[in-house]
């Protein structure tokens, strides 16, 4: 059991989200950055879909009421022990808190950070998922004083860490043109894929509104509503694109110039207001290759996780700093 001592920025429990309910108007929800989310779960030996805490901007302060194994993605923390001692907790390295320890999570690096706990957060499932969707009262955003139940976990194995901090792919955000590409002028599409766009302050789990060159429609922005999906890029009449994210509605009434490929959705989740991005058009074959490459990178990273026997893993340090340095010295 974790007690929420303070939560300055709303944080939400997420898993892979709700499938099969979009025709009832239910958003998918789920972790914005599903890659970091799965890696965090692997670091506490959870199944990939175990519910974790998704944090934005800055993390909460939590007190363990039982021994709890935790790991952070895209954030660091200080552990304040009952005896008054403090120790830092870097990202991508699990640690096991004792009852009474306080976990003070700091700034989140990028758009979304995760706190995974061994056993997962055992909040009630709604329509097959523990993901919070606050607008409809599915689960609840974190509040001060809340007690967060945890699933059963076997803590007899050592803590785990990544060999070296994961580096995520950069480059343009890849999109498949459409489904309403023809509602935009060719000049607008050329502008769309050759310009820098900046994430504005209007950024949340429903979507990112972008600033940059406006995109002209051939004859109006409105369509008779059809289905949308996370990654779809709507362009309302003002010509400013909006990239939809996990909590987006199931249908929308604006023309969609393009849709971000599945492999790059986690990268959208890492974006913050002020970040710039560029788009590149690909086809479905390239999209599949990118998705398979990402899955295999994640599988390799998970396979290479190292046990932490004493808190500092000398073997991992050796491999990361020495062996690797010698082999790749050129």
């Amino acid at each position: 059991m974790f007690e929420v001592l303070a939560c300055p920025v709303p944080a939400s429990i997420q898993d892979f989200g709700r499938r099969g309910y979009r025709h009832f108007g239910v958003p998918v929800s789920g972790a914005l950055d599903s890659v970091s989310f799965r890696l965090a779960n692997a670091l506490v030996r959870n199944p990939p879909n175990a519910a974790a805490l998704e944090m934005r901007l800055t993390g909460p302060r939590l007190q363990a009421h039982t021994p709890i194994r935790v790991v952070l993605a895209h954030a660091e923390a200080t552990v304040e022990c009952a005896d008054g001692s403090r120790k830092p907790l870097p990202a991508w390295q699990s640690t096991t808190l004792a009852a009474g320890d306080i976990l003070k999570i700091g700034a989140v690096q990028g758009g979304a950070g995760y706190l995974a706990v061994a056993g997962g957060f055992d909040v009630s499932e709604v329509l097959g998922s523990r993901s919070t969707y606050a607008r409809a009262g599915f689960g609840s955003l974190l509040r001060e004083g809340m007690m967060l139940p945890l699933g059963a976990a076997d803590l007899s194995h050592p803590d785990l860490a990544v060999l070296s901090a994961p580096t995520f792919a950069g480059g343009p955000i890849r999109v498949i043109p459409g489904p309403q590409r023809e509602m935009f002028t060719d000049a607008a599409f050329a502008t769309f894929i050759s310009s820098d766009y900046t994430v504005t302050q209007e950024a949340d789990r429903m979507g990112l509104r972008l600033a940059g060159p406006t995109l002209a429609h051939v004859a109006g922005a409105d369509i008779v509503s059809d289905a949308v999906t996370p990654g779809a890029i709507q362009v309302p009449g003002d010509g400013r694109p909006i990239v939809l994210l996990a909590d987006c509605q199931s249908v929308g009434g604006y023309a969609k110039i393009a849709t971000v490929i599945a492999a790059d959705l986690p990268r959208l989740g890492r974006l913050l207001p002020g970040n710039t991005l560029r788009f590149a058009a690909v086809d479905t074959d390239e999209a599949m290759q990118a998705l398979r490459a990402q899955e295999s990178w994640l599988a390799d990273t998970i396979a290479s996780l190292k046990p932490l026997v004493t808190g500092i893993d000398l073997e991992a340090l050796y491999q990361a700093n020495l062996v690797d340095g010698v082999i790749h010295a050129d």
Partner: protein, 215 residues
């Protein structure tokens, strides 16, 4: 119009039957939905019918895309009528007053009496075209031409839950408190969404018919 297959990213395909709100187009959408549902292809996560299109959401790593496209072409050609497994609902509504704060204004704008608006609305058998915007929010049509109004110039920040509202050719019931720009004519006591009912959490589904009953 010949049905078109549109890419909605690499994890969804949209089969588009038309660009208008039209019961005949919607009937084809529902028939195609039936074909895809019966095919039960592995990897498909959601089938979303709208006014004029059917979107298939799928897991690209678990789906045979070319097989799915073949099924979509077959679904586009189907001559079957949808079984329209739709159910009929009568939804009791208290009109006007605090329950329907826009009724008088709608009367003024349309030049009809509040009574005539209520009688007209309750006289329609409304078709549920799609559920969207919010969990369980039904887009229902079609309203007669004279009752089609643009959305309010300034949307409300909080429409009370269970409000019965109209905008354009459509009527709806807000299942949740939410911002909204539709004209509020009344309120029902019927619960529009029940998350504990995993089989059918929304009271209404595409293909259903609805009649409002004045109480």
């Amino acid at each position: 119009m010949v049905p078109r297959l549109l890419e909605l990213g690499d994890a969804a395909l949209t089969l588009e039957f038309g660009e208008r709100i039209d019961p005949a187009i919607n009937a084809k959408v529902m028939a195609a939905r039936d074909v895809l549902a019966a095919a039960a292809l592995p990897g498909i996560t959601d089938l979303v019918p709208t006014y004029r299109s059917l979107t298939v959401h799928f897991d690209p790593l678990a789906t045979d895309r070319s097989a799915l496209i073949e099924h979509l072409h077959a679904a586009a050609e189907t001559m079957e009528k949808s079984a329209l497994t739709g159910r009929h609902f009568e939804i009791p509504v208290r009109f006007g007053g605090a329950d329907g704060p826009d009724l008088d204004e709608v009367a003024k704008t349309t030049g009809r009496s509040a009574e005539e608006i209520i009688d007209t609305l309750c006289g329609l058998e409304l078709r549920v075209y799609l559920i969207g915007f919010l969990p369980g929010f039904p887009y229902m049509g079609d309203l007669p031409d004279w009752l089609r109004l643009p959305r309010r110039a300034t949307p409300r920040t909080a429409v009370p839950p269970n409000s019965v509202a109209i905008a354009g050719p459509q009527a709806a019931v807000y299942p949740w408190q939410s911002p909204g720009g539709w004209h509020l004519l009344g309120r029902t006591t019927v619960q529009m969404f029940d998350a504990d009912n995993a089989e059918r959490p929304a009271l209404l589904a595409p293909g259903d018919t609805v009649r409002f009953v004045r109480v």
